[in-house]
Each structure stands twice: as C-alpha cells, then as structure tokens.
C-alpha cells in the first residue's frame, strides 16, 4: 500500500514539475527585453547591466580567488591612489604627486573630503595603514612586495609620502593595483582571510556590494551615492551565472559576451550589436629548458625553432583568426612599448634547416631526425590538455626540419609544477598580463633577481643567461625618465628577438560583443584585454575620467 502511494506521489511530483516549467518559462519569455531604439552611438547610461557571473570570492583583497576576475570586483568597491584608462595612468584618490629627483620619494596629494561608504573620512592614515597591514597580511592581489618601500610617512591628513629603498620605475604602476583599505575597520581584524563580514567591503569606490551569493555565483553592485568621483553611468551591475554566455546573450539575459570566431558573422550582421576585438594581451609561451637540454643554449637552434614554427598558421587554425602571431621581442603589437623594428621570424623552414646545419646538427643515420655526437634533436613537449592541437601542429612543422617532438598532455597543475621545478624539456603555458608594464621582460627572462616581482606575468625561463639583457633590465628599473626608459625597453626587445629565449606562439584577440542600445560605454585599460574589468567602463567619462 505504502509503495503504491509513494509511486503515485512521484508521478504527481513529475507532473507538477512539467506544469511549473511551462508557466515560468512563459513568464520569462515575456520579461525579455526587446531591442528597440537602436542608435548609432548607443546608450551612455543604463540602470542595470547584466554580466556573466560565477563565484570569484568575497570582493575584498584577501578573500578573492586566485583564478578568474576577482580583483576587478574588488576594484568596484575599493579605490587605488592612481587608476588606468586607455592611454596610461591617471590621478584617482591621489590628486597629484611629486617624485624626488633621486626617484626614491613619492609624495601624493590626496583628494579632500573623500569618505568611506560608512561615512568616515578618508585620510593619509588609511594609506599608511594599508601598506603596513599588507606587509604583515599579504593580499591575494595588489600587494606591494617586500623590499620595494622602506617606509610610508603621513605628512598631513591629505599628504602621504612613500620612501623607496631604491628607485623603482614601476612603482606608480604597482600602485594602480594597490587598493586602499579603511583603517578604522581593518585595524581590528587579525585574520583578514576569514573576514567575510559586510564591513569588510567598506570602500571609497563607485559601487557598494549589495548582494553576494557564493553558491550561485551572483554579485550585485549598486551605485555608492557618496562616491567622490565621476557619476556612475551604470547604476547597478549584476553578475549572474550562465552556463553558456553566448546563448544567454542571445536570449537577452546578459548584455555583454565574448564571441567565438564561428558565430562572429551572425553578430556582425546585426546593427544593434557592437563587435570589437580585444587587444592582444593574453598569450601562449613556448619554453625551452636550457638546463635540462644544454644544446638549446645555442641560440641558432632556438632561432631555428622560431623559423620553423608557423605562428600565422596557429592563429589561423587554432585561434581561427582571433589572434596575432607571437613576436620574438616578446611584447605584442598592441603593447604600449612594442618595438616595431625588430628581427622578424616569418615561417621559413629553409632558413631553419640552414641554421641547424650551421650549428652542426645533421641527419647522419637517415631516420629523419637530426643528430650531433650521438645526441638527437628529440624532445618531449609538455602542455595542458587544452593545448594538444597546438602541440600537434608544432610537431608537424618541426618534423619538417628534422626535430622530433612527442606531445605530452598534462593536467593544469601538474604542468605548472613541472614548469616551476624545471622538470620538462619543452613546454607550452598560456597566461594573461602581456599588456602590463614591460618590466616583465626582466622578471621573465633575466636571471638576476631570485624573486619574481608583482608585475610579473608568466613563469621565468630556464637556463637562459644574457649579461647585456640583465644590465638593461636593471637600468630600466632605475630609470625614472619615461622616454629614456622606453628606449631601454625597445633595446631589450631587440636583444630578446635576437636571442629567442622563449617563443610567444600567439596572443589571443577574442571578440567582445554587446548591445549598444543597452549600454555602449565599454572601454579597455591600456594594459588589459577585458573591458568589463575596468572601473571606467561603468563611469561617466567626464571630468577626471574624461576620454583622452
């Protein structure tokens, strides 16, 4: 009897589900926004913008996750002393600043009358506190690494001075990520990693965290009415979870999405949708392990790799056009300080073979693989499971010039562990940050500093040493004159392009698409590929934040 009842109940439940599905589905379909009033320029204002969500942690500097866009959410609530726009660094909480002639003292004049979202006045003490607090409790992102700043001095409530241990040309750039915390709240917090209280997200920035739901990965940011700066152009920003951003965009559930090259034409044909390519600031790097394979210390072999790998083909076949071939000077064409006159390595297997022959590598036993003194040019190429197709193409191309490659796909963390410990022969790793301050040419390719700095992007190369490059890198780090520093960076690119310590395979230039009738104010910071990550994308572009 009980069994019968139970079965009946299940069927009732199933029926109920079907019925509710029908009802709610229709409701939603009606609620969908219709695309009306499409203008050429698009809307400069929106009450709510919906973006693709996901859980990236509670938006304070100590609790965001190391994967995904957590730090950009921190940036909606917390301000830094200086901010980034399309062209460069601009004043933010700091109205202006002076750098002493020796490049070691940075004095910031802070904006007056700025308040925290709980009404407490913001002062220079908050800045000093944040620095000292984050030396003891390292944040996930935005901290200033030890050894840069000697001490911070509060001159008066609106003036703060950073005294550096030695001149560091990237200091202002480092400050763009350094979010100021409220002293009156954090001074009582012993363990900020466990600080998930609503008070933890008290900031001076343009938005307040209205709602965060960890399990569903939703965030709602609303305008901070007491924000000191430009008005918000988007009043409310909601991050909602989607399983497929493209479909959610087509259904009008989100207002901004990435578009894959296959679906590009469909969106391009629609005048209501703007499709723009991202700058090339995310890329794949091909690593040589010169410690494990000493013959790779001969740069002729590395140059041969560069000539043999058809990077345009990778862009064509793997990125399906949405990318730019890697430059041997490392910086991508879209980088602010890209040197356009550098040795080019267009696909040229003949030249690659000539270089290998010059270096004494010949196929003496006729097996198609070049060898010298009993050693064969045969390598294992480690890569992540998502990069197998890149590996297979490289294998084909390198086979043409007599280099044998076995592709070994690894799970992400295992590959990273191998990269970290130098336990590989050749390796591919993909990462962002190629648009950042060019100081990463130092942290990635020089063997002077044992510790990678915080502007680092990508892991260091293995077994590469070039004294000239090291000297140039040290020089640019001390150089406070922008123009002179740029010249040094240009020179570093020439050295790198000649030496090929690693091969950037290609930089991705994915497509973004958005409905212009909904909101059209999206912008890119000069050093970053994602438009939704810049705070200026959500603000009116006048006054301080005026378009340059």
């Amino acid at each position: 009897m009980v069994k019968k009842k139970l079965i009946a109940l299940f069927f009732c439940l199933a029926a109920l589900l079907l019925i509710t599905a029908g009802c709610i589905g229709q409701d939603e379909a009606q609620a969908e926004p219709s695309a009306k009033n499409i203008s050429e320029t698009g809307s400069e204002h929106a009450d709510v913008v919906y973006l693709s969500g996901g859980d990236y942690g509670y938006p304070q500097p100590f609790t965001i996750y190391p994967r995904g866009p957590g730090s950009s959410k921190v940036g909606m609530i917390f301000d830094s002393l200086v901010e980034r726009d399309e062209k460069g660094i601009l004043p933010w909480l700091a109205k202006s600043w002076n750098v002493s002639s020796n490049g070691k003292e940075y004095t910031f004049n802070l904006r007056k009358g700025v308040t925290w979202s709980d009404g407490v006045l913001f002062t220079a003490n908050d800045v000093k506190f944040t620095f000292e607090y984050e030396q003891k409790n390292l944040p996930v992102s935005g901290g200033i690494e030890a050894g840069v700043v000697d001490h911070v001095q509060v001159v008066d409530p609106n003036t703060v001075k950073f005294v550096l241990k030695q001149p560091v040309s990237t200091f202002l750039y480092k400050l763009t990520g350094f979010k100021i915390l409220p002293k009156h709240i954090y001074k009582n917090v012993q363990d900020p990693v466990g600080f998930l209280d609503p008070k933890a997200v008290t900031g001076t920035g343009p938005f307040l965290l209205d709602e965060y739901n960890k399990e569903h990965g939703t965030y709602r940011f609303v305008t901070n009415e007491n924000f000191w700066g430009p008005d918000t152009a988007v009043k409310t920003v909601e991050f909602i979870p989607v399983s497929d951003a493209l479909i959610a965009f087509e259904q009008g559930k989100i207002d901004f999405t990435g578009v894959s090259p296959d679906t590009l034409e469909r969106f391009r044909a629609d005048p209501a949708i703007r499709v723009v390519q991202q700058p090339a600031f995310w890329g794949y790097q091909f690593y040589f392990n010169m410690n494990k394979c000493p013959e790779l210390k001969d740069r002729k072999i590395r140059q041969a790799f560069a000539y043999a790998i058809d990077r345009a083909e990778l862009v064509e076949k793997i990125a399906r056009g949405a990318g730019k071939p890697g430059k041997m000077g490392i910086l991508s064409e879209d980088h602010l300080w890209y040197n356009p006159t550098q040795p080019e390595y267009a696909y040229n297997p003949k030249k690659a073979e000539a270089l290998l022959e010059e270096a004494g590598w010949l196929d003496t036993d006729g097996d198609g693989i070049r060898d010298k003194e009993g050693k064969k040019l045969s390598y294992v190429l480690s890569l992540g499971s998502g990069e197998v197709r890149i590996g297979e193409l490289l294998k084909e191309r390198l086979k043409e010039i007599g280099i044998d490659i076995q592709v070994r796909a690894l799970e992400g963390k295992s590959r990273d562990a191998n990269l970290r410990n130098g336990d590989f022969e050749l390796l591919i790793s993909g990462f962002g940050g190629w648009g950042r301050d060019a100081d990463y040419l130092r942290t990635r390719y020089c063997d002077t500093d044992s510790q990678a700095g915080s502007v680092a992007s990508g892991a260091r190369v293995f077994g590469y040493h070039n004294a000239t490059l090291n000297a140039l890198a040290a020089q640019q780090l001390q150089e406070t004159d922008e123009e002179k520093r740029k010249e040094i960076i240009y020179e570093m690119q020439l050295v790198l392009a000649e030496d090929v310590p690693a091969i950037p395979l290609y930089y991705t230039t994915s497509y973004d698409a958005w409905r212009i009738s909904k909101y059209d104010g999206w912008m890119n910071m000069y050093d970053h590929h994602a438009r939704t990550h810049s705070i200026l994308s959500y603000l009116k572009r006048d006054g301080l934040a005026k378009k340059r």
Partner: protein, 327 residues
Amino acid sequence: MERESNSCTCRLFLTLFVLLAINFFLPRMMPGDPFSTTSADEAGEEIIVMTEEQRLYYMHYYGLDNPLPEQFLMYMHNLIKGDLGRSIYYKMPVKEVIKLHLPWTMLIVVGASLISTSLGVGLGTLSAKNRKKGRDRILMSFLIAFAEIPSFLLGLILLLIFSVYLRLFPLAGALTPFADYSGPAKQLLDILYHAFLPVLTLSLAQLTGVYLLTRNTLITVTTKDYIRTAKAKGLGEKLVWNRHALRNALLPVVTRTGFMIGIMMGGVVLVETVFAYPGIGLTLRSAVVARDYPLIQGILLVIAISILLCNLLVDKIYGKLDPRVVI
C-alpha cells in the same frame, strides 16, 4: 555476541582510519600546490600569479609547510573536534562550503533516484508482462540504445532542446538570480523548475539499468513454482503480479537504488558542470583543480559517509521487504 560486536566496531574504525588517511594523502600526492598556478586552463582566462613571497606566506598560513605526518595528526585532531578546516580556495570553513552545496546535490540525486526507480520499475513490469511481444522489444531496444548516450551528452542535448530552442527551462543555476519570492511556494517552484533538467538527465541515465534489472528479475521470478501455485490457486492476474512477483523482484532493485545514490554522488560532477548547477560535484571539481586540500578531504569524506549511510538504509529497507532477512 559481545566480542563479535566489538570486533565489528573495531573494523569500522579501521576502515574509517584508512579512508581518512587516503583522503589526506592522496590529494597531497598530486603534483603542484594550491599557490603555484602559472598557467591558465583556457585561452583568455585570468589568473593571479603569486610571487614566491606570497606563496611561502600562504603555505605557512595554512600550515602546509609543516611535515606531512604533523599535518596529518593536526587534521585528525581537528576532525575529532568536528573541525573540517578552512577551504584554501573559498576562504570559508569547509563545513560551510559543504553545507551550501550539498543540499543541491542531494536534491537532484535523490530526485533522480526516485524518478528513475519508479519509472524503471513501471517500464520493467510492462516489458516483463509483454515479454517477447512488440511492446517489450521496442522498449528494450530503445532503452538500451539510450543507455549508450553518456550523461553529459544527454544533458547537453536536453539543454539545447529545452533551454536554447524551446526556452522552457533555464540555462544554468539552481535559482533565479536575485529573485524576490512572494512566498515559499514560489521559491519551491523556482527550485523545482531549475532542478528539472539536471534531474531528468540523471534519471534518464540511470533508467535503463533499473528497467533491465526489473524486467529480468521479474521474468526469472515468474518462472518460479510459487507463481505457478499462486496462479493455480486462481488468484487474479493483478494480485499475482503485485503481491507475489513484483515484491520479490523488487529486492535487487532496492539494493541497486541504494548503491546508485552512492555512485551518483560521485558521478554527478559532469551533469552539474553541464547545467552549472551549484552542487557538491562541481565544487569537488574546482577543489581538485585548485588543489584545495581541506575541501577535497571534506567532500570526499561526505561522499564516503553518504555511501555508507545509503548502504545502511538499504539494509533496513531490505529487512522490511524481505522478512527472511534479520538485521
């Protein structure tokens, strides 16, 4: 009797200890650590690459720089106090992370088990009654072909049909984001509405197994002497099927359902990924990717315990269904 139960308890504790040890050491034997990420998993993904200074700081913060045996003792010590530790990735106590995500998985797993079992038994009975007739043949070949579709593919197909083209169901999630419910009934409807496709996918994936088991045991049972006796007594067709055949045939089905819940707890990862459903499977996946040791331990422990509980429950129900079994 006394000694026997003592040795039983002993065995249970030994099993638990081995389980905990595996839970502890296995994740730590994977290459890498939670803080040494340098590469993104897919093109365009943002990652924060930690400096060596940051890495050492966090290794120390979470006590991962202590020798492994010491960490293990610490883990056992905390576990006895009921403390599962704090998630490295989510920065929250593991207990809370599990508390947030487990109910969603329970909902779809239990829902799917109930549906697949009842539907499977129903169809199995239908097939057995019409054995070797057209209806049985069609059902059987259809369901067997169906079983060959992997659950994630099935999920994708359902998602495409119902959510993308027909727009009847949501694309992702377990609730409408930021919904303001007028009452608990509305909220319940919303939850069921979001759970529908994941539950359907899981149910369909399990259906064939239940169906085949029911059909085959029923067919075996109906050849037994006592069925012939029952029929010979002049009992009605319905009574023979329900009271005599089905009740006996149901025994293995009940056992299977119990095990199935356990297996599904582990296998739910793929389905939750397809529907971006915030359950424990999706959380486990991200915990493994992030090498979040405390969270991996916690979730594996919960899964192990729920499998043990399901087995216990099966034993109890079995006793009710089959009076010959004494527990």
